[in-house]
Point group: C2
Chain length 248, copies 2
């Protein structure tokens, strides 16, 4: 990473750089920019304009520029952004240069898929431990890893100093698993189980509920249907622009 001048992180005093406090909305978009940049790099592009990168990431260019400006000034006016440089910067900010260890709890249908998900490894995450409460699953080999019993979760996770845990258990056991993860020193949890987790305030939780996504789509289906059925409603065919992404 550090490329001499341009490279050093803004506000770096000594070895440990001060951390720019980015808006949460910006953080959520950085991974998307990063993916687009990787794609551009593969096609051999050296630089990108904000317009080009914005299009590749599916946002508008003003938003992209403002987002990137929060990281520092890594563009060249009249030219654009250096792809390689920007990749390094974003990966540094996101902490992806650390090759983070992740453990996964719950090797059911979904957990099984997550354990083998290529997208994790390709973005700097290593799944290093699998757990399940079902004795029949303990010992099973998945993707080169042996499933261990959740009773050992706390010990193993602590030993390997795992910082990120993924919960893919049934809703009933999710809270207990979260408690064990926290006890083991995990400070970030990605939760696929429906329901609310209660954790200490120093632990970050992100939730992904597949059914909720469908329900939101269902709402919009319902809305669209009621519009076309209504007297004033136009008959569903509002031109064909590009891209309507609903919600956040």
């Amino acid at each position: 990473m550090s490329q001499q001048r341009h490279g050093s992180t803004p506000g770096a005093a000594d070895g440990v750089p001060a951390f720019p406090d980015l808006p949460e909305a910006t953080i959520a978009r950085l991974p998307e920019y990063l993916r687009a940049l990787h794609h551009l790099a593969e096609t051999g592009a050296e630089t990108v304009s904000s317009e080009g990168l914005a299009a590749a990431a599916g946002v508008n260019s003003a938003k992209l520029r403002k987002d990137l400006s929060h990281l520092g000034s890594y563009g060249t006016r009249g030219v654009g952004y250096d792809v390689a440089l920007l990749v390094d910067q974003i990966e540094y900010i996101l902490g992806l240069d650390k090759n983070r260890a992740v453990c996964l709890v719950g090797v059911g249908n979904l957990g099984h898929a997550l354990a083998g998900y290529a997208g994790f490894a390709s973005r700097g995450f290593r799944v290093v431990a699998l757990f399940d409460a079902d004795p029949k699953k303990v010992g099973e080999q998945i993707n080169g890893l042996t499933v261990q019993h959740t009773d050992d979760l706390e010990r193993v996770a602590a030993e390997e100093s795992i910082a990120i845990g993924v919960i893919a258990t049934p809703p009933g056991t999710a809270q207990a698993v979260a408690d064990a993860l926290v006890a083991a020193g995990v400070t970030s949890i990605l939760n696929f189980a429906p329901g609310v987790l209660s954790v200490p305030s120093n632990v970050d939780v992100r939730k992904v509920d597949l059914a909720i996504e469908l329900q939101i789509l269902s709402f919009h289906e319902h809305r669209k249907a009621s519009l076309t059925a209504l007297p004033g409603g136009r008959s569903a065919q509002p031109a064909s622009g590009d891209q309507e992404v609903v919600g956040s």
Copy 2:
């Protein structure tokens, strides 16, 4: 608020009710309220206060009341909300009373898991068709359904008038699949493939990128680590409140 009867949907003139236009943020929370309400109903509760429901859904009570007020006036002051009534209302708004048909494209690791995901069926969604481009997978039986070839996607989806499609293919083929879905009349897409989909403006797309979620957590890990390492940073143990959910 007019209130009148309490039962029928607000603004209903004839058979087709006018559709309240809810804030997007509210819509995204309704499924969570619904889940909490179902849970309460199972425990035999007749009514809930906004405080109680808010706690169960992991939000603050003012927000919950404002959200629900957008649906109409379905609470009773001094008492709370009628659980059964509220369930019906939210399910109606979300269009879950329609038992919507969903098709799933891409029966890889993730797609396989989604096809068997119990959370879909239990919330009013029926997976009615599976597709994959790999001839080796075509014909395979999953959860009582036969995997069909993506060449038949457009025909089958149109015949069964499927409105919602789920994409769980590798990123390279996602756009082509989306085009086929749109051509078949699908107007809502849930996309698990990384990358930006381009669709007509009357089609809603929601994206779930599992790797992005981890990257956001990674950022917060990085931030927390740099804080504790910094001279001014407190030594990581900021009391133990409840619930810190990061991001939207």
